[in-house]
């Protein structure tokens, strides 16, 4: 019987994509927190939600189970809330994939308690211009804000910083 390493499991998980941002794997996104061998061929994958109400989490859980079942492995997915997910956990590869897909990756943002703070400058993922404008802090999904580029005039999503 061949033994499979945790590193290989992480590799399989690279194939499981975020259903709302299908260029990102669950590993890129940073929602997979741990992979543990429970007993022979039985694994536990620990995940954490991006936002409390993120509807993608159930699909992600199913995707993980299906992918590992394909390898003939049994898996149990558990969800933890703490430590709470932060966009700092997104991989560098993930940030590049987002940009190539047309979504601006998270930037360092100003303190959220400051009212009417000037929104952080988010470069346009299409043309790179910094001449962009926030349309709304709340976008098409919980994790995104809605921006518009004043240079190429394209609207775009920004994967907002959560810390």
């Amino acid at each position: 019987m061949t033994t499979i390493s945790a590193a290989e499991i992480w590799g399989f998980l690279e194939d499981v994509k975020d259903p709302e941002v299908p260029v990102l794997s669950v590993v890129d996104l940073g929602v997979v927190r741990d992979v543990k061998l429970r007993e022979q061929n039985k694994w536990e994958v620990v995940i954490t939600p991006t936002y409390s109400g993120c509807p993608a989490m159930q699909v992600i859980e199913k995707g993980i189970i299906e992918r590992l079942n394909e390898e003939g492995l049994e898996v149990n997915v558990t969800t933890v809330l703490s430590p709470a997910w932060t966009t700092d956990w997104m991989s560098e590869a993930g940030r590049e994939k987002l940009r190539a897909y047309g979504i601006a990756p998270p930037e360092d943002e100003v303190d959220k308690s400051v009212l009417f703070a000037k929104p952080t400058v988010i470069p346009c993922p299409n043309c790179g211009s910094k001449n962009t404008k926030m349309v709304s802090q709340f976008g098409s999904t919980a994790c995104k804000a809605h921006y518009k580029c004043l240079n190429c005039l394209e609207p775009f999503d920004y994967f907002k910083c959560l810390r």
């Binding site: 939600p49 308690s113 919980a142 809605h146």
Partner: protein
Amino acid sequence: MTKEEALFTYLLRRADDTLILGHRLSEWCGHGPILEEDIALTNLSLDLIGQCTSYFQYAAQIEGKGRTEDDLAFLRIEKDYVNCLMVEQPNGDFGKTITRQFFYDVYHKLLLEALVNSKDEQLSAIAEKSLKEVKYHLRHSSEWMIRLGDGTEESHERMQNAVDDISRFIDELFYKDQVDEMLIKEGIIPDSADFRAAYDAYVTEVLEEATLQLPEKMWQLSGGRKGVHSEHLGYLLAELQYMQRTYPNMEW
């Protein structure tokens, strides 16, 4: 009352606040004054519904009677809901919805900041997770309070009316009974009296900026934490529970 029973009731209070406020906000779906706010309000709703799921799951586990989060959310009768009265108040116009949101967000953020230090690991984890979301909520509602309060004559008047109305429900946010007392003693929840001053200070600061005023001390309404609700909750539950009552055990 055992510690588990107190914790169960407390978790339902948190769960019901977030469920009912989340449901109220979802009523705006497709009716927002502008597209961006339609999306913003439903985003807030999604966060709150997500948070209530965490509380209900934990409550079901603590109760240990085989009820699920869905049973708790959809299959209780009105007097078993223990949300505060503020969150069940009807949406009114956009200004009233924002005002209700603002008065609740200030409390919600302060509560979660303190709840993160709970000796109960799971409650602390839910608070830590929710707090990141609620910071966004508070900034959103605070900015709209100022924009609309210090806006046109019309928007100012509507906001002042909303403040007069919703401020009747502030004291209830700080309601305490033996459930709270027991959990405070155990270090599981904070004493809300400890952040009342911070609440009043923040509210005053934003209202001043918004050129709005808290009315002279008004009659304060309460009862929600004991299941005694305003007439509005029944109608809300009729809609919220419709699918589960009509098609028991249905799933999406």
